[in-house]
Symmetry: C2
């Protein structure tokens, strides 16, 4: 198996370089990549240490290192580019043609993408995180009018991490409400949700997977029994279908995928820009 | 002010396209961008609706739309590319040269980057979120041996959202412990932290900013008084300095920046790949 060293390098957080690199390299599953991130390489001095490391890597490995960079500072970028490496830089690749298209020079300012560029937007995101925490697991149901959306589903179907992701990534205030076994005795909405039907997004999950997840939490409990999981999911899906609540199956979707589908389904406005 | 419509389009979540686009376009602060995301455009049929929209946008706006795409499917990509737009595609731009460098064809499989590609790694991330929630605000201090790191600081200095981000983005299990005013009566570590000095990362914050944040939470309380904030921060920084605890000032750093600096300072291993 081909083994390759990959270096993400940035004069800021490196999140853009990592995200792009991860997307691209995940298309080569037969190669064994070893990833390293170097953030805040924002001076010639810091870049020299990095360059030294690259040159050591280039000498000791069979293949030259891969560098995926997001360097706004072209002086530092050019120094790194001279190393023996396969070099991709995001700004260098795209900024020229964007400047032409926009007929405007780029500002070449570091820290624009993941810093606190827009205080209002940033505060909204932090507020959304506080919201998701305060409105977790059925809390504060009497204040659901404040929620952008309410994620519903049975215990362990992925509601909490998804609400947190919606908050952190998109600044969306998402509450979550767990259907208890009692809530699932009939095909109706629990009382706290009745007034907010238009804010609901449902999650469902394969009963076998739910059983696994609950076993890990409370082994051999009634709560975790496969039969119990099947019963809950059956009524749950009947509720979604009868009441026309849009819903997603979380069994094989990541929180990123769930979040992005939830935004599409609910039509809520993102606040991350 | 030049106004431009920007469309992120992907056959999956669109997170990579959004991240890249946001990084690039934040370098043009004099232009007013309007962003729209189209995720899961994974069939010719879905792409036709999108193309229709682009053509309407192209006709009604002064400037042609900007499309930032991450389309693994080249058939769909080529259809979108034919619209009247400024078109950037991440895969098209980089995959060719990467295939050459790696001497391996790419797999052109959708959903590799933000799906559940590696179940173990994905479960680690979800577990880290549960960890951050369970170990929030000084909880479960008796189990700190399980933490990758412990974020410390005074109330409202940004510990909780940062721990959640470390969990969601990097799969790092970060606990957080708030120094109470009593903890800050002397320049020593509170008891629960004494055995874990090597796991501590400190946060500090400008007293004026802390005062603002606390005023928003409990207006006109002793807790929020500027004098109280100054006193707490003074002892807090003395503790960090005397005991050689690495620390960061969160006043003007975003949670992304804090997280990425915390990883550098602590040297903890990320689990997101």
């Amino acid at each position: 198996m081909q083994k390759r060293m990959v270096y993400f390098v940035s004069d800021r957080t490196g999140i853009t370089a990592e995200t792009l690199g991860h997307s691209l390299l995940s298309q080569f599953s037969t190669i064994s990549f070893q990833f390293h991130t170097f953030s805040f390489i924002d001076s010639i001095e810091k870049s020299e240490e990095f360059i030294q490391l690259i040159s050591t890597s280039a000498q000791s490995e069979k293949h030259r290192p891969i560098i995926i960079a997001s360097m706004v500072n072209s002086e530092i970028r050019n120094k790194i580019k001279q190393t023996s490496s396969f070099f991709i830089d995001i700004f260098e690749t795209f900024l020229g043609s964007l400047e032409q298209e926009l007929n405007t020079p780029s500002e070449k300012t570091v820290g624009q993408a993941h810093g606190i560029l827009n205080t209002k937007e940033y505060n909204d995101r932090i507020e959304a995180v506080n919201f998701a925490l305060a409105f977790d697991d059925g809390s504060k149901a009497e204040h659901y009018e404040q929620a952008d959306l309410i994620l519903v589903g049975v215990s362990r179907s992925g509601k909490t991490p998804t609400c947190l992701y919606l908050a952190l990534q998109y600044g969306i205030s998402a509450a979550n409400y767990p259907f208890t076994p009692e809530d699932l005795d009939s095909v109706t909405l629990p009382n706290p949700l009745k007034k907010f039907k238009n804010k609901l997004i449902g999650l469902t999950i394969q009963p076998e997977r739910l059983h696994q997840l609950r076993q890990a939490r409370k082994p051999n409990s009634t709560y975790a029994e496969l039969h119990q999981c099947q019963k809950e999911i059956k009524t749950l899906e009947a509720i979604y279908q009868t009441l026309h609540i849009p819903y997603l199956n979380s069994t094989s979707l990541s929180i990123e995928e769930l979040s992005s589908k939830i935004i599409m389904l609910s039509g809520v406005h993102r606040k991350n820009w």
